[in-house]
Symmetry: C2
Subunit: 369 residues, 2 copies
């Protein structure tokens, strides 16, 4: 089953659309909460239903180690495992593997398990296979992500190897008709901050031919303005009728900047991680709930949004729970940040549909830049 | 406003009834989940509404230190603070204070704060005052709880001092008309395992005159059979038209044994603490979800209760989350245990109303003794 992107409206390069997969449809722009080990921290699939999330991320690397891709398969695959009936996407775990300083060769990556120190080897083919077992709606190829800044020859080597691995991963995926009928597979564009390498990586990834395209290796520490041009160099080469995904981006200003350059899908641990440390997304920007001024505040986190599922509790109460490390705090603040960001992306979608994306983006930059 | 207990049916000494307070009513037997710092760990008041809890406990000692009783008062009192509209009860915190090896004299207890090591002094009067500020529907007197076993003279000294403090606490409470209009105050019976001291403590506490009576200092390590007679010696002396509360008891067999001796109210951290460590209450007894046999189990925690709010997730999934320490596990398992125990107490209430408490108790002992 071919995954398609249907454009509902374009406002400049910003797109409002619908992605259709074997499971059904989801609308874009779309923010995908991250449930690395099969759950968003402190939340369940019931909470994600309440929040109206459309797509949830999980991580192949973590799930193949614990509980094991075969265990997820034995329990019916990721949707049945987590009892989640929306869309799912698994990252290959390349990013996690590369943070472990693996030994890389043409065949794949060799690294130690974070769980028990055992030596593991991941190849483009094995990453396809474990993601087939896990059974998300969308699986990602294993790519090579280099740190920024890196010398040109390192970026070049990562680009070439990512393409080699993409060819192998695609072939291996196409050889599995059962998986093909259920899953989509996305390629990943690399190329650092070099415009010609970004364009080349995008062209060559499109030549391999995937169901959608991700841009990886951006927003890994460099300032937002530095990835604008490299991102555009990539998205200019991507087909209009397939979805585009910026990996690992979750701040409001970054999201509007990427949407302005043709991106449809986002994921990031930022909103959930910030929440656990007491930093909230609000219409006035970030709010650090730990501050003493909120001790006796009976206002909700974001007075502009009285319909937030967390608006019934005061800043004073939530600050207290945070301060005494009650896990209820992490839960409620996580719900707030995800609710806020999902609503933000919905508002952005409405702005694109109503041809007023530019003024929406300007108002976001006023608060978040 | 006088707190009353209305008997709906007695089956032997087991009572099914309704407690009426200034806030409204709750039915008994009743299990009260423990939200020490103003929240049950991992849960919010929205969850407690979903679970149908009637009364939630909080702890005066913890709340007076963090965020401070004055902060809770500034935020409208405990109900407004936690946005919980059911009943609340605060323990004085005597039990927590005595675990800190305080210096005790006739005036009160001197101890160090667990938060910053500062020296604190709590008296029967100050415990009333901070509980007035916190504003629960029911407040408890400061008592002296001795460990079991203790020499008779230690039990005797604790009993006498508890009565002295009860007289002072009651007088101090009666001097505050605003609090009187809103709150009830319960006395606490001590006396160790000695039958005559238990009876004497109960008689003298009733002479002081409270809105309800708790039995403290039992089930603190001794076998269940050891507290049966001392408990009965106490409840025999308690008035029939006021509620009776066994402090710190939460296992099913213990609860039926205490109800069989005339107790109406219970609290315990057991169901929530067990849940966080992966031990579940089920119709077959305790279930340790960590066990390898559950790795691929697609059954719910307790197949006998498909209507549990956690029944949609499999043992295999929940075991995985528990094993990788995802906080979602602690949350869902806590919900299961509280749901299960609240349902258990409701079933017991129905059995009393239908004059079949004895067979209910026998079936509980078959699984839990």
């Amino acid at each position: 089953m071919k995954t398609t992107f249907t454009l509902e409206n374009a406002d400049g390069l910003a797109r409002a659309g619908t992605v259709t997969t074997a499971r059904g449809t989801f609308t874009t722009p779309c923010f995908m909460p991250v449930g690395t080990r099969g759950a968003i921290k402190h939340l369940s699939s019931a909470d994600m239903e309440d929040l109206g999330a459309q797509v949830i991320l999980a991580n192949n690397y973590h799930l193949m180690l614990r509980p094991g891709a075969d265990v997820v398969a034995a329990l019916g695959g990721l949707h049945s495992f987590a009892d989640w009936h929306g869309h799912t996407l698994t990252d290959s775990g390349g990013y996690q593997v590369f943070s472990l300083e693996p030994k890389i060769d043409d065949d794949g990556a060799t690294f130690k398990s974070v769980y028990d120190g055992s030596k593991l080897h991941m190849t483009p083919e094995s990453a396809v296979d474990s993601q087939v077992q896990i059974g998300a709606d969308i699986q990602m190829v294993l790519d090579v992500c280099s740190a920024l800044p890196s010398p040109d020859h390192v970026i070049r080597e990562a680009l070439d190897r990512t393409i080699d691995w993409a060819v192998r991963a695609r072939q291996h995926f196409l050889d599995q008709p059962d998986a093909l009928a259920r899953q989509a597979q996305f390629g990943i564009v690399q190329g650092g901050l070099d415009l010609s390498m970004r364009a080349e990586s995008a062209q060559r990834t499109v030549e391999v031919g995937f169901d959608g395209y991700a841009v990886g290796g951006l927003s890994v520490g460099e300032h937002r303005s530095e990835w604008h041009e490299p991102l555009l160099a990539a998205t200019n080469e991507l087909p209009a009728d397939q979805p585009r995904y910026f990996m690992g981006l979750g701040d409001p200003a970054g999201i509007v900047d990427a949407v302005a350059r043709g991106i449809d899908m986002f994921d990031c641990v930022l909103p959930t991680r910030l929440a656990r440390h007491g930093t909230l997304l609000t219409s006035q920007g970030r709010l650090n709930l730990s501050r003493a001024e909120f001790e006796r505040s009976d206002e909700p986190i974001d007075p502009a949004y009285p319909d937030s599922p967390v608006a019934r509790w005061s800043r004073g109460y939530l600050r207290h729970l945070l301060r005494v490390k009650e896990p209820t705090a992490a839960r409620l603040l996580t719900i707030h940040n995800l609710w806020w960001l999902l609503r933000f992306v919905d508002d952005m979608r409405t702005a694109i549909l109503e041809d007023r994306f530019e003024s929406f983006a300007a108002s976001v930059h006023e608060v978040w830049s």
